[in-house]
Structure formats: C-alpha cells, structure tokens
Symmetry: C2
Subunit: 208 residues, 2 copies
C-alpha cells in the first residue's frame, strides 16, 4: 500500500499548493484576479493540470471561502470564551472587525460577493437558536445575546436570534463600508466598533 499512499499524498500536496497559490492571489489582488492561468503560473504547471485537481474555478473559490470562514472562527474562538457577556460583546466586535480589516479580500469574497460562495459555507448552517449544526460563528452571537438576557441586559421576552442578527448587520456594516468607502468614513473601524457596541448595549450616550 506504500506506493498508492505516496501517490495519494502527492495528489493532496499539489491540491494544497493550488489552494495556497489561489489564496495568495485573492489576498493580493482580489477575487476578480483569480484566473486559472495565474494559478497555473504560480504553481508552475500548465492551466489544464489544475482541472485534474479541481472541477472548476468555482470549486477553488468555494474552498478559499471555507478556509477564510475557518480563519474567522479562529478569531472568534478565544473571545467567545470570555465569561462576562458585556466584555465578551466588546471583544467579539473587536475580533470580527479585526478579521475583516486584516483579511479584506477574503471578507469581500465571503460576505460581499456572489451569494453562491456564502451559501456554500452556510448552507448546512441555517440560522436558528436550536444549538444544532448551524453556523458556529452565528451561534457565538446568539449565545452572547442569551447570556446578556440571563444578566438582565436584554429583556426576557426579546428574541435573541433577532438581536443577534441586528448585531451581525451592524458589525458587517462597519467592515464592509470601511472596505468600500474608507475615504468617507473618517472614523477608524475600531473606533466605530467601540461606539457601536456601547450604543448597542445602552443607546446613545446622554448628558450625565
């Protein structure tokens, strides 16, 4: 079995190489710049060879999305463990925004481009509060709202799912607008995030 195992290993190695080259292209020049010819040039193979490892360009894009989503989870995982839900909210917002700004083109690909890639990641992850197999990243938000509720920071009869969605859109708005119109959002993404979370918790600051 040694020979077929080696072949298998070599196969996955080139597959991995294709993915890494593709990710580099996306990160540097955006998704539109991801072409089979460029990938082929980067890995020093002929374009046709790529089709032995991936069905088409979309399959490569999908894999990059899945990988990027994993990276987002890596950003969220440490802060999701913070016990105080108020602190956790601030940390989650900071981490989400930091991911978006550090991985701009990946964020674009996952959350701002063709929904078919987003769907590829989330399609087995319907957003609900079932605690089931749904999108792990979104469950971090739902759990956050549930824990805020347990501390009377959110009304007991409020819909955690709904408020989690409001929070997600708010954070997404900061990242996406900053990525598209940074010249006209004079505030930093981090500053907007901090204000957003405080306002989310307590509303607009009042005269004291």
């Amino acid at each position: 079995m040694g020979i077929s195992e080696r072949k298998e290993r070599q196969k996955t190695e080139l597959r991995q190489q294709i993915l890494e080259a593709s990710q580099t292209i996306v990160v540097q020049d955006g998704f539109a710049a991801l072409t089979m010819r460029k990938i082929a040039e980067a890995i020093e193979y002929a374009p046709a060879t790529i089709y032995l490892y991936f069905e088409n360009r979309d399959e490569i894009a999908k894999q990059i999305c899945i990988h990027g989503y994993q990276e987002l989870l890596d950003y969220l995982h440490p802060v999701a463990a913070i016990s105080d839900p108020r602190d956790r909210l601030l940390a989650i917002a900071e981490a989400y925004i930091r991911f978006g700004m550090n991985h701009a083109e990946t964020y674009r690909l996952i959350f701002m481009a063709d929904p078919k890639f987003t769907n590829a990641i989330l399609k087995d992850a319907p957003i609900d509060d079932s605690g089931g197999p749904g999108s792990p990243a979104f469950h971090v938000l739902i759990k956050l709202l549930d824990d805020l509720k347990a501390q009377d920071q959110l009304a007991a009869n409020a819909d955690s799912l709904h408020f989690a969605q409001v929070l997600w859109t708010a954070l997404h708005g900061i990242v996406s607008l900053k990525l598209t119109c940074s010249g006209f959002l004079t505030a930093s993404a981090e500053g907007l995030g901090t204000t957003m979370t405080h306002t989310f918790l307590a509303g607009l600051p009042k005269n004291s």
Copy 2:
C-alpha cells in the same frame, strides 16, 4: 443658431438614451452585465457610436452612480423634513433601507463595488460637519444627530459626526448583508431596521 441648437439637442438625446439603456441593464442584470455591446444593441446603434458620447464604460458607470445617488436623495428628502428627531430617525432608516432593497443593483454599484465609483460621487463631498458643499445625504444624518443632541437624546459633548457614521454603517450593514446573504438573515430588512433604530436610541430593551 437654430441648426446647431437642434444638433446639440439631438446629441444630448442620444446621450440620454444611452444612459437609460445602461441603467436598465444594470437594474436587471447587475453591473457586471453592463457591456458596450449590450448597450449598443439596446439603443440599436453600433458599439463604436457609444464612444462618441462617452469616453469609456467607466464614464457611463459613473453617471449611473450619480443618478442613483440622486434617487437616494429623493428617498431621503421628504423624511429629512420631519421635525421630531426621534421620528425622523425612524423614517430615515426606513427610507434608506427601502431605497437599498428597491434599487438593489444600483445600491451594489454605489456602495458595494469598486470604490472609484463611490468616490466619483462623494469626492467633492468630504464628510465633515461644516455644512459646506459636502455630501447632502450624509448631512441629513449629521443634522439628525445634532437635533437629537439639542433634545438631550445625545450627550452635548458627543461627536455628531462620529455617531452619524455609526448610524450609516448600521443601516448599510442591514442593506448590504440582506442583498448578499438574504437566505441567512431570516429577519426582514424592515424589521432589522426598526430594531436597529430603537436600539440605537435606547440600547437593548430591558425587563420593565
């Protein structure tokens, strides 16, 4: 002068026809589908003719952006006149979201695509609180925050510009995420908008 005036008029008429055909294409099939050939087919002229009226494709796109931005102003103008700033906030949010959902592809082009188009609209409109020639749409938000401040809904020492940006990103987040991942935002855009504005004003709802 009658002849040259007629010629001038005919020139602007075809120009207008090109723009209208282009807008139809963008609205129906998105910006990526806007090609010179398709425009030519729609107006029943040869592709080369378009270049007598517009320098290139980008100039056409820019004009569509400017027109779309005007439409956004048309949505905002009536509600910007509401005197009570709390009511006005709700109405502005509703109008902004309604514009985004009703003109999805235009919204994409202006706020979710290449920044160069966004810049074309806003470049003479630096976001500040000077009341100068800046972006009219954004001044609606700044004035709103100022008026909330005058009613003690916002602390006197708070930065209206900053909170206006937070509000903008929040509204943009709802529209843009709904346009990209509507399958995973189970709440309606309107519902998210209502919750967002209430939370913006008063924070998460508490047990009463």
